[in-house]
C-alpha cells in the first residue's frame, strides 16, 4: 500500500471500475478491460462504458508495445529493417517480409526470378493457412470453448512452423525474403514435405469444420453480432477477410495481381451479412482456396535461381523517389511507403498496418451489444499487437 503523499504526480490511476453519471441514461459503469486481459490478444485495453451489460461507449487504448519501428528503420540500412518486419505481425512474418521486399524492389527497380516468385506465393499461402487457423482457434477460445479448438489449431500450426524452421532457420521470425529473391533455395525434400502438409490440410479443415461451422453455440454467439455494413467498411479502410465478409469483392491478389497470382486460379469468398459468423466463415473458405493455390504452385514451380544475380543487398542506395506498395496479407492490406533521398537508409519508412486500421470500427461494431459480445467481436477483427503498436 502506497501512502497518499507518495503517489506519483498527475492523474491518479483510479479504480478499474467506476460509476459514471449520465444525464439521459442514469447510472453507467465504466470498465477498463485490459491491458492484461486474456481475451485482448496482448496488451490492449478497452475503455467500455456499460449500461447494465450493454456497451454504450468503447474506446480502444493501445501503444503498450510501441517501440517506434518506423524511427528504427529510418536509422538503419534497407536490409537491416528486414528482421524488424518479422516483429510486426509475428504470426505472419513471411507475408511481412514479402511486403517489405516488394516495396524496396519497386523503389529500386529490382526484378525477381521466377522460382522465387513461386516460393513467395507458397510461403504466403502457408502463412495465410496458419493465421486463419489460429484465428478460428482464438475466436472460439474467446467465446468460451476453452481449449479444444485452439489445441487443434496449434497442432496444425506446428506443422507449418516446422516447415518454416527447416527452410529459414526460425519458426516465427523467419527473415527469409530479400530484395531480388529469397535468402536460400528450397530443397526437393522440403517442397515434398510442404506439399504433404498442404495436401493433408483439407482433411484437417473438414475435421475442424465438423467441430465448429455447424456448432449451435458458435452460431448463437456470432450470428447477427457485430454487423459491419459494406459502405462503412470501405469508408473506414477495412481490408482483408473483414472487408470481404462485409460483401465487398476486393482482394489485392486479384486487383493488383502482384507476384504470380494472375497465373493461379482461385476464387474470392464473400460474406452475405457482415457479422462475426461471416468473418469466421470467410476465413475458413479462404483457407480452402489457399490449398488450391498451393496445389497449383507446387505443380508449376520452375527450376532456377532464387536470387537475381545483380541484386544488391548490402549498401543498397535506391535513386531518389518514393513508393507505396501493398500486398494482401492474412489480416488485410499490408503496405509500405518508402521515400529514398539516395542514401543508404530510407528517408521515410512507413508501415500501413492492417490490424491497426481495422480497429477503427471496433466501437461501431460493439455498440448495443453486451460486453461478452465485445470480446467475440474483437476476436473476429484479428489483431496482433506487434503490428497495432509498432
Amino acid at each position: 500500500m502506497i501512502a497518499a503523499d507518495r503517489l506519483p504526480p498527475g492523474p491518479s490511476p483510479g479504480p478499474r471500475v467506476r460509476a459514471v453519471r449520465d444525464e439521459f441514461r442514469g447510472d453507467l459503469l465504466e470498465v477498463s478491460m485490459g491491458p492484461h486481459h486474456p481475451s485482448t490478444h496482448g496488451v490492449f485495453r478497452m475503455m467500455a462504458t456499460l449500461d447494465g451489460e450493454t456497451v454504450v461507449r468503447l474506446k480502444p487504448v493501445f501503444g503498450y508495445l510501441h517501440r517506434n519501428h518506423e524511427k528504427i528503420a529510418e536509422g538503419v540500412s534497407y536490409l537491416a529493417s528486414m528482421p524488424y518486419t518479422d516483429r510486426l505481425d509475428y504470426l505472419c512474418s513471411m507475408s511481412n517480409n514479402w511486403a517489405y521486399a516488394l516495396a524496396v524492389e519497386k523503389l529500386a527497380g529490382q526484378p525477381v526470378p521466377e522460382r522465387a516468385e513461386y516460393l513467395r506465393v507458397i510461403l504466403a499461402e502457408l502463412t495465410r493457412l496458419l493465421n486463419h487457423t489460429c484465428l478460428a482457434g482464438f475466436l472460439l477460445q474467446d467465446s468460451g470453448a476453452s481449449g479444444t479448438p485452439l489445441m487443434y489449431a496449434f497442432r496444425e500450426r506446428e506443422k507449418i512452423l516446422d516447415l518454416f524452421e527447416s527452410l529459414s532457420g526460425s519458426r516465427m521470425m523467419c527473415n527469409y525474403q530479400r530484395f531480388g529473391g529469397c535468402r536460400v533455395d528450397a530443397t526437393p525434400a522440403w517442397l515434398l514435405a510442404a506439399r504433404v502438409v498442404a495436401e493433408n490440410y483439407g482433411r484437417f479443415l473438414d475435421e475442424y469444420e465438423a467441430l465448429l461451422t455447424g456448432n449451435e453455440i458458435l452460431m448463437a454467439r456470432t450470428q447477427g453480432i457485430g454487423v459491419l455494413p459494406g459502405a462503412l467498411a470501405i469508408s473506414a479502410g477495412i481490408t482483408g477477410p473483414m472487408l470481404r465478409a462485409a460483401g465487398v469483392p476486393y482482394d489485392l491478389r486479384k486487383v493488383d495481381g502482384y507476384g504470380v497470382y494472375p497465373r493461379l486460379e482461385f476464387r474470392v469468398p464473400l460474406g452475405a451479412h457482415g457479422d462475426t459468423y461471416d468473418r469466421y466463415l470467410v476465413r475458413v473458405l479462404e483457407m480452402r482456396e489457399s490449398i488450391e493455390i498451393l496445389r497449383q504452385a507446387f505443380r508449376d514451380i520452375p527450376a532456377g535461381p532464387v536470387m537475381d544475380p545483380k541484386a544488391r543487398l548490402r549498401g543498397l542506395r535506391p535513386k531518389p523517389g518514393e513508393v507505396y506498395s501493398r500486398i494482401e496479407g492474412p489480416k488485410g492490406e499490408i503496405g509500405f511507403h518508402l521515400i529514398s533521398e539516395g542514401g543508404p537508409n530510407p528517408y521515410r519508412y512507413r508501415v500501413r498496418p492492417p490490424s491497426f486500421i481495422n480497429l477503427t470500427i471496433l466501437e461501431d461494431l460493439c455498440l448495443g451489444h453486451s460486453i461478452a459480445d465485445a470480446v467475440v467481436i474483437l476476436g473476429s477483427i484479428d489483431i496482433v499487437l506487434g503490428e497495432v503498436d509498432r
Binding site: G63, S235, Y250, K319, G321, Y324, H337, F356, I361
Partner: protein, 189 residues
C-alpha cells in the same frame, strides 16, 4: 485511370482558386503525387471521392513526413478506388512551418479510415488536423511532450546504470557521474 496532370486540370477547372501542383517522382516506381493547398483540401477530397470517373472511395494510407531542410511537415494520403479498382492517387498537404503553423485540414469527415492514422501522425509528427473529431495521442501516452518521428527529436536522458558500461552507455555514465568514471579510463569486467 487519368494521369495526375489530367486530375490536376480537372480540379483546377472545378476549383479555380485552388492551388494544385503535380509533384514528380523520379524513381522507378513512378508514383507522382498532387500537392493541394490546405484551404481547398477538404472540398477537393470530397470531389475526388464523389466524382464518378475517379470514385476514390478508399483512403488506404495516411502518414506524415518531416522535411526539416525544407522547413515544413507534410501529410500524405494514398487513395484507391474499390469500385473501379484503380489507384493510387497520392495527395500531399503541407504546413507553413514546423513550429507554430502546423495545422492541415482533417480528412476524417471524408474518409473514416483517416481517424486513427491522423491521430498517429499528430502523435508522432505533431501535425495538427483541424476538424478531427477526436485528436488525441494514440501510441505515446497522453502526458508525453515531444513528437518522436521528427528528424530533430532528441531522446530523453533516462539514464540507468548498467553493470558493463561501454560505448554509448559509458559516455552517458560519464556525463552523470564525472567523478566515478574519469575520461579515458575504461573499466573492464
Amino acid at each position: 485511370m487519368e494521369t495526375p496532370e489530367q486530375i490536376r486540370d480537372r480540379l483546377l477547372a472545378r476549383f479555380p482558386r485552388a492551388a494544385v501542383e503535380v509533384i514528380a517522382n523520379p524513381g522507378p516506381a513512378a508514383q507522382p503525387s498532387l500537392l493541394v493547398d490546405s484551404s481547398h483540401a477538404r472540398a477537393i477530397a470530397e470531389f475526388l471521392r464523389d466524382d464518378p470517373a475517379l470514385g476514390l472511395d478508399f483512403c488506404s494510407n495516411v502518414t506524415g513526413v518531416d522535411w526539416p531542410a525544407r522547413g515544413y511537415l507534410e501529410a500524405v494520403y494514398h487513395l484507391f478506388s474499390i469500385a473501379q479498382r484503380h489507384g493510387p492517387v497520392i495527395l500531399r498537404l503541407r504546413t507553413a512551418n514546423r513550429t507554430d503553423q502546423v495545422a492541415v485540414p482533417s480528412l476524417t469527415p471524408v474518409w473514416r479510415s483517416c481517424e486513427f492514422q491522423e491521430r498517429e501522425a499528430f502523435d508522432l509528427f505533431g501535425l495538427v488536423f483541424a476538424g478531427h473529431p477526436d485528436l488525441r495521442r494514440i501510441l505515446m501516452w497522453d502526458e508525453f511532450k515531444d513528437h518522436p518521428m521528427r528528424k530533430d527529436y532528441v531522446e530523453p536522458d533516462d539514464y540507468e546504470w548498467e553493470p558493463t558500461p561501454h560505448g554509448d552507455v559509458l559516455a552517458k555514465a560519464r556525463r552523470h557521474f564525472p567523478a566515478a568514471a574519469p575520461a579515458g579510463e575504461e573499466r573492464r569486467p
